[in-house]
Amino acid sequence: MAKLQPASTPALSDTDQGEMKAKRKTGVWLGQTVKRMRKSRYLLLLFLPCFLYYVLFKYVPMFGIVISFKNYNLYKGIWASDWVGFKYYVMFFKNHDFFILLRNTFLLGLYKLVFGFPAPIMLALLLNEVKNAVFKRFVQSVSYLPHFISNVVVASMVVMFLSPSGGLVNKIIEWLGFEPVNFMVKPGLFRSIYVASEIWQHFGWEAIIYLAALTAIDPMLYEAAEIDGATRWQKLKYVTLPGIAPAIVVIFILNVGKILEIGFEKVFLLYNPAVYETADIISTYVYRVGLMQGNFSYASAIDLFTGVVSLVFIWSTNYLSRKLGKTSLW
């Protein structure tokens, strides 16, 4: 019947034909869909818990962002509270903390990128030069141990070692004949302490990716370079670095994209009111304003602002790297 129809009704206008085609298509599509769903019903069943997780704990909260356009009412809940439009966004942008928070978050992320990004690459390159396999494995195993230690423990260690009364670091400072320093209450030192502890905690772990990339380099290239009389430096420059460049670029894009997503836990555990002027970042501010003071709508507005800025960040770094070079995430 479907074949006959166009021939038997030649008078039909183009639009009618188009409509019918579309209808037929949807019919076929629906049938096929049901068929495919039935065919993969066991797979869908396996996927169901995972799907529910993403809906309940990722996508419902994303829609929950509407609360930032509403005045959150404890009794009415997220969906029934009254609309207030952009009130809380205006409030945030007009707040004199806005600039400080943005600056603190950005600078902390930037320093972490500038100092934390090259560290694992250097470790991997140094490890790569080690000929003794046992020593190499030992250094590697030790270096990524702190990655598995909790942020609470790392922050506790930092605070205790830097303590002005009997902390290890201050003991050394006193032994060298200087005055002890109360590190944790000096706003000028917070970023250095944070970045150093991040590097200490993660650089061994992050080196794994580069080490894997290094082992993938064809040894013949090194042999050829040696025959040509290349020095150690030249081999590094012309064989090793080009070999791991794709890994470096991908991880760099990921890190630039995450510049504003500084882990909440570490900063929250390390900071104190004395260093808020440099240490308070967007997520810790959101926690204090939202959960401790109960301004849920205002805090959600800040959440959405950060989320959108992060998204723009990662998208534009990826765009730039695709324009400039050949590597990109997608």
Binding site: T33, R36, M37, K39, Y42, L43, L44, L45, L46, F47, C50, Y53, Y54, L56, F57, P61, M62, I65, I67, G77, I78, L123, L126, E129, V130, K131, F135, V139, V142, S143, Y144, L145, P146, F148, I149, S150, N151, V152, V153, S156, M157, V159, M160, F161, W200, G204, W205, A212, E265, L269, V286, Y287, L291, F296, A299, S300, D303, L304, G307, L311
Partner: protein, 288 residues
């Protein structure tokens, strides 16, 4: 032919040894101080090894009811959480690795999108609160039940699973459920162990979930109690008096002992498990 030990090798070895020292020494120092008697700690004579060896601090720490309760809570959260997370993640990853599943591309995109954008702390908190799981075990288990990274690692692993084996199961009349539980699972124990360990360590170390979703002090896991004792300085003053004047409590030793007690399980399993971790990272890195 003996290899010449050039100046570069020497410098390189020294730098790497410094990396080892910087990483390990804090732990050695904490262990040494927490195992030393307080007279030596107060004089600042403890450096590399315990002086006047004593287990007093550990006895004190373990007697603290908050810590024993927190230990128990953490073990419950880690066990249950890992079991749930591993089940949900592995089943989901297997389904996603099958291209023929209905809407599989769409599901994958939906999942990857959550890596780049999320509802944020407060909307997530309000939503989780509205589910009524605050102050229950589920608050520690469900919000972190799937880590997208682990899911993608497992999906990559399963998509490389030899299809002949699955085919043989299908011929024997198994459905996808049967194939997954009776063929794929028994043959992928290594990847289950790896991802299970990732989840277990993540749960053991988690601080944010209990901070947000647990209010009842009896429910607190180790990390929260540890933070309260060491960083917020809530030492139990009753302890200090109970020991008597001749054995003065050094706050530092007590805190280090507390840190060690909550870290030792991780340190103990670490040497055995680290090879699995590296493997896991690399599976994920090959084609993320």
């Amino acid at each position: 032919m003996r290899r010449k030990v050039g100046p570069f090798t020497i410098v390189n070895t020294i730098i790497l040894l410094m990396v080892v020292v910087v990483t390990l020494y804090p732990f050695i120092y904490m262990a040494a101080v927490s195992l030393s008697s307080s007279t030596y700690v107060l004089k600042g004579e403890v450096g590399l090894y315990p002086k006047g060896f004593t287990l007093d601090m550990y006895k004190l720490v373990l007697k603290d009811p908050r810590i024993s309760q927190a230990y128990l809570n953490t073990i419950v959260y880690v066990t249950l959480g890992t079991a749930v997370a591993l089940t949900v993640t592995s089943m989901g990853a297997y389904a996603l690795s099958k291209r023929e599943m209905f809407f599989s591309k769409g599901f994958t995109l939906l999942i990857i999108f959550t890596m780049f954008f999320s509802g944020g702390m407060i909307p997530t908190f309000l939503v989780v609160k509205s589910y009524g799981i605050m102050d229950t075990v589920w608050a520690m288990v469900l919000p972190g039940a799937v880590s997208t990274w682990n899911l993608l690692v497992m999906r990559t692993f399963f998509s490389a699973f030899p299809s002949e084996l699955e085919e043989s199961g299908r011929i024997d009349g198994l459905t996808e459920l049967g194939i997954f539980f009776r063929i794929v699972f028994p043959l992928s124990k290594a990847v289950f162990a790896t991802i299970g360990l990732f989840y277990a360590v993540g749960l053991w170390n988690n601080f944010m979930l209990p901070l947000l979703y647990l209010r009842d002090p009896d429910m607190f896991p180790l990390q929260v109690v540890l933070r309260n004792i060491v960083l917020a300085g809530q030492t139990n003053s009753a302890e200090a008096t109970s020991v008597g004047a001749d054995n003065m409590i050094v706050e530092e030793s007590l805190k280090f002992a507390t840190i060690m007690v909550s870290t030792v399980p991780i340190l103990l399993v670490y040497p055995f498990l680290q090879k699995y971790f590296v493997k896991g990272v690399l599976i994920g890195a090959v084609k993320g």
